[in-house]
Structures are given as C-alpha cells and as structure tokens.
C-alpha cells in the first residue's frame, strides 16, 4: 500500500512535475485574487489562448519559444487594454476577438507546420512530462516576480483594484498598474501553460480566489490563502494525474473544483454571498442612523 502511494516519487519526472504544479498553483492562486476582484476572470482564459498562438508562431519566426510566446502574450494583453480603454469596443469583446484570433492562428500554424516545442495535447490540457530544469526555473522566476511586485506595490494594487477612479486622482498611475498586472499575468500564463494547459489555466486562476473569498473578508488573508490553496491543489492534482493517467491540468482543476464544492457546502449562504459580489461595483449602500438638520 505505502509502496503504491510513494511509487510516483521514484521517478524524477514526477518529482519535477510535482514541484512545477506547486509553483504553478501558487502563482495562479496569488494572481487570481487580483484577477477575480477586478472582474477580469475572462482575461486569464483569453490570454492563455493568445499565448498558444505565440507558441506556434515563435519557432516559425526563428525566436526561442519562451521569448516569442511571452512577447506575443504581453502584446495581446496590452492590445486588449488599449482597445478596451478606447471604449469603442467592450473589454469582453476585445478579449474575445484578439485572443481567439490568436488561438486560431496558433492552431493553423501547428497543423500546417508542426511544432518544435511542447506537443499540441500538452499545450491544451497540460502534461506531467517534459518538466525540466528550465521549466522549473521559469516558474520559480515568475512566482518570485509576482510575489515581489505585489509585496512592493501592495497598497497601490489594493487601491487600484478596489477603487481605480479615486486611486487615479490620488496620484497612483492606474494605467501603469494595469500594464504591470498584465505583464505579471502574461509571464505567469507563459510559465504555467505546459503544466496546466491552455484550456484550463483560467480555472486555476479563478477557483482558488473564489474559494478563499467564501472563507474570509480580508484582502491580505485572501492573498496568502489563495496562494496556499493553489499550491496544494497543484500538488494533489499532479499526484492524481500520475495514478489516474489523466492530463495534469485536468486533475488540478478538478481538485480545485472539489475544494470549491466542499467550502460552498461548509460556508452555505454566507460564503455564497461573499463570493457572489466579488467584482460588483453597483451595490446601493445601506441606510444610515438619524442626524439633525443644519
């Protein structure tokens, strides 16, 4: 029994996959807090598809895959920001057009010319295979980049997430903060894509943050709890991936989804109420106690 449980750890590729899944889960969990509270859940889904196009196009352009796909993803993110801010087209529509076009281009290029990088299936659903030193270093670097950015600019990110209009007039450059978040997001999606997969990255960004929102009313607590939940779901999901012979992205998302169901049942209406208005900016305030007229 014990031998069976410990069997995966005999293989270096599984151990590497486990490290990668923990780092990827923690990274997505941390980022997810900002993404969900800003009402940008869809952008994770969209950007992962955009980066897929970069994966396909980079080798054809003679660029290293990581560099090419990263630049492609960041370019897409900034383009979405510019188009959405111009207010001539909605943010959702901008994400839909730009990222699905990039994804379609990626599929066309991979089908026509093949790939020198990760396999098509691995990009779509994630894979335990092929996690080497370079992939781990990229993940570690992305996690450190995100952690340092959010720690050093904690108050500015909190302000621009909660109240961007007032943050802007209080001397914080909301445009710069948005661009920085897009950069962190693009790097993170690039680093996690081969572990979790294009189609499933969005779930690992959204679910841990939603789960911990049901448990706490504290922003700072959400940050570390979502990071921890993402890491734990990554480890458990990767472990199950080996035993069940299912793509790692799938099992990681299913573990996250299970955590969501358990916490939802445990917290009941209170948790649901907290999570329901995560990105809502239209609540009418409560009424007030009495005061006399001037």
């Amino acid at each position: 029994m014990i031998d069976t449980l410990l069997e995966p750890f005999q293989y270096q590729f599984v151990v590497n996959g486990m490290y990668a899944a923990v780092l990827a889960g923690a990274l997505c969990g941390l980022l997810g807090v900002f993404i969900t509270l800003r009402g940008m859940s869809y952008i994770g889904h969209g950007l992962s598809h955009a980066v897929f196009g970069g994966y396909a196009a980079a080798p054809l352009l003679g660029l290293p895959i990581v560099l090419g796909a990263g630049a492609w993803g960041l370019g897409s993110a900034l383009l979405i920001n510019v188009v959405a801010r111009s207010r001539r087209i909605g943010a959702d529509a901008a994400i839909g057009v730009i990222t699905t076009a990039s994804f379609a281009l990626g599929v066309a290029l991979l089908t026509r010319f093949g790939t020198k990088g990760p396999a098509f299936d691995a990009l779509l659903f994630g894979s335990i295979n092929g996690v080497g030193r370079d992939e781990l270093l990229l993940l570690l670097g992305a996690l450190l980049f995100a952690a340092v950015t959010f720690t050093a600019l904690y108050r500015a990110f909190l302000f621009t997430t909660f109240d961007p209009d007032v943050a802007d007039v209080s001397g914080i450059s909301v445009k710069r903060m948005d661009a920085l978040l897009m950069l962190v997001l693009s790097v993170s999606i690039l680093a996690t894509l081969t572990i979790i997969g294009v189609t499933l990255v969005a779930a690992t960004l959204v679910i841990p943050a939603v789960v911990v929102r049901m448990l706490t009313d504290s922003f700072s607590r959400m940050l570390w709890a979502s990071t921890a939940l993402g890491a734990a779901a990554g480890a458990i999901g990767m472990y199950l991936s080996y035993h069940l012979a299912i793509p790692s992205g799938t099992t990681i998302v299913l573990v996250n989804a299970l955590a969501f169901v358990v916490v939802l049942l445990a917290t009941g209406p209170r948790g649901l109420r907290r999570a329901a208005g995560m990105d809502d900016h239209s609540d009418v305030p409560a009424v007030a106690p009495v005061a006399a007229v001037r």
């Binding site: 509270l37 909660f162 109240d163 001397g171 907290r274 305030p285 007030a288 007229v293």
Partner: protein, 255 residues
C-alpha cells in the same frame, strides 16, 4: 491669482472628442468655500470635478491651482463594491502614499488612521468590514480616506445620491463641521431641496455656468428652467427656497 483662490478656471472649454460638455466656464474655488454644483445629467458636473482634480485638461482656457494645494475626492457611494474584502481601517490607509517595500502599516500610519477615524466619529469601526457600515458611516469612511491626504479642497460627487433623509442630514452636518474647520468643499448634486438649498453657495451648470451665487439667487424659476430645461415653481419655507416640480401635472386622475 488671488491669495484666497485654491483653483481657478478661466474660460474653460472641455469635451471628449465631440461636442464640448463644458463651454467657456469661469469659476474660482476659494479657501473655505462651500459650493454645490447643480445641473441635470450630462450638464458637465463630473467633467468639472475632473478638471478641478487635474485628471482632465481643458481644450481651451486654463485651470490654475495654487501651489501646494492638495485636492481630495470622494466618489459616489453607489459606484463602490461594498462586498470587496477590506476593512474600514484598510480602506482609509489606501490613500496613504508610501515608499516602503513592506506592505504592512507602520506604527505612525496606524496612529494617523486612528486619529482621522476618531475625528469623524468612527474610530470603533476600524476593524469592521465595509459592508457592515450604514450609509452615513460609509460616507464618513471615504471622507476619512480623503482627509488622510490633508487636503485644502474636498471634491464630492453626489454625496447624498441614493441615501435616505436621515443619512442626508448626517452628511450635511458632517460637511458643515469640516467646512467650519477650514476645509473648502465643492460637491455636485441633483438634490435641490435636500442638499443644494442648505449650502451657502451654488453654481447652476448646464454646459455653461447659468448662474452663481447664494441659494436665494440661484434657486429661482428662471435659472432652474435654463439649467434643467423644465419649468419649476419656487416657494419659500423658513427662509429657504423650496422647489416644486409642477411641470408634469398630477397623473392618474381622470377628468
């Protein structure tokens, strides 16, 4: 610029690419002023606030701010996500600029936040989630956040929009106290009877400044019709103008 002027708008015209939303606007916000800007939706009230804040620049004319003038802004309560995971203390602290790399508040910052919350009578609410506040307490929290920047001028967008009568009274009293302490306040409002009539100075705005002066000078039928495009009657009650919207007539009555 006069030594008393905090911000001066001279012949300001402003728009977002199409027809200007403000044309040839002149206005001076003086130290200690307490001004309400009234006008219909789309009259340029919010654009005026943005120009005073410096987040927008005029197409023509000039906006001049006295050196060293700090301006703070309080948003409409209705635009805020009250479910956001943040406490009253954290919300106020957001406005405190810092160059520190570590995210937590210093002892000095905590003292500052406690002092401003105490000044506004909500010191005991610092650890509460913002959703748990009443309307008046929510407004006090945002004013506390604005005051943390030690402004000379406070700009408020519809501070009594969507609140009940008692909250409106509470907010009016609070603003009066702050103004008596020397803070200049400029706010926008749709509420002629509940808000504007109580203020010492009003500006009627509809793309252009229609009138500027005391409520007795601005809340008069002619100015209201030119500002809102609708005929209204004005009565006097306890020395204050009361606007009666009689233009629509009485509905639902046969014959």
């Amino acid at each position: 610029m006069s030594t008393e002027a905090l911000v001066r708008l001279d012949h300001v015209t402003f728009g977002y690419g199409g027809e200007p939303v403000l044309k040839d606007v002149n206005h001076v916000v003086e130290a200690g002023a307490f001004t309400g800007v009234v006008g219909p939706s789309g009259s340029g009230k919010t654009s005026l606030l943005r120009l005073l804040l410096g987040t927008e620049q005029p197409q023509h004319g000039t906006v001049t701010r006295a050196p060293g003038t700090a301006v703070s802004y309080v948003p409409q309560l209705e635009t805020v996500n009250w479910n956001f995971p943040v406490t009253v203390g954290e919300c106020v602290l957001m406005a405190r600029r810092t160059r520190r790399v570590l995210p937590w508040a210093t002892a000095e910052e905590k003292t500052e936040v406690a002092a401003v919350l105490d000044r506004l009578g909500i010191a005991d609410l610092a650890r509460r989630h913002i959703r748990e506040l009443s309307g008046g307490q929510q407004q006090r929290m945002f004013i506390a956040r604005a005051l943390l920047r030690r402004p000379q001028l406070l700009l408020m967008d519809e501070p009594t929009s969507g609140v009940d009568v008692a909250t409106r009274h509470e907010v009016l009293h609070l603003l009066d106290e702050l103004n008596r302490d020397g803070l200049a306040i400029l706010l926008t409002t749709h509420d002629l009877n509940g808000m504007a009539a109580h203020l010492p100075h009003l500006v009627a705005l509809n793309t252009r400044v229609i009138a500027s002066g005391s409520p007795a000078e601005v809340i008069v039928p002619d100015v209201l019709e030119r500002t809102f495009g609708a005929r209204m009657e004005v009565l006097q009650h306890l020395g204050m103008p009361v606007v009666v919207d009689s233009g629509a007539g009485r509905l639902g009555v046969a014959g």
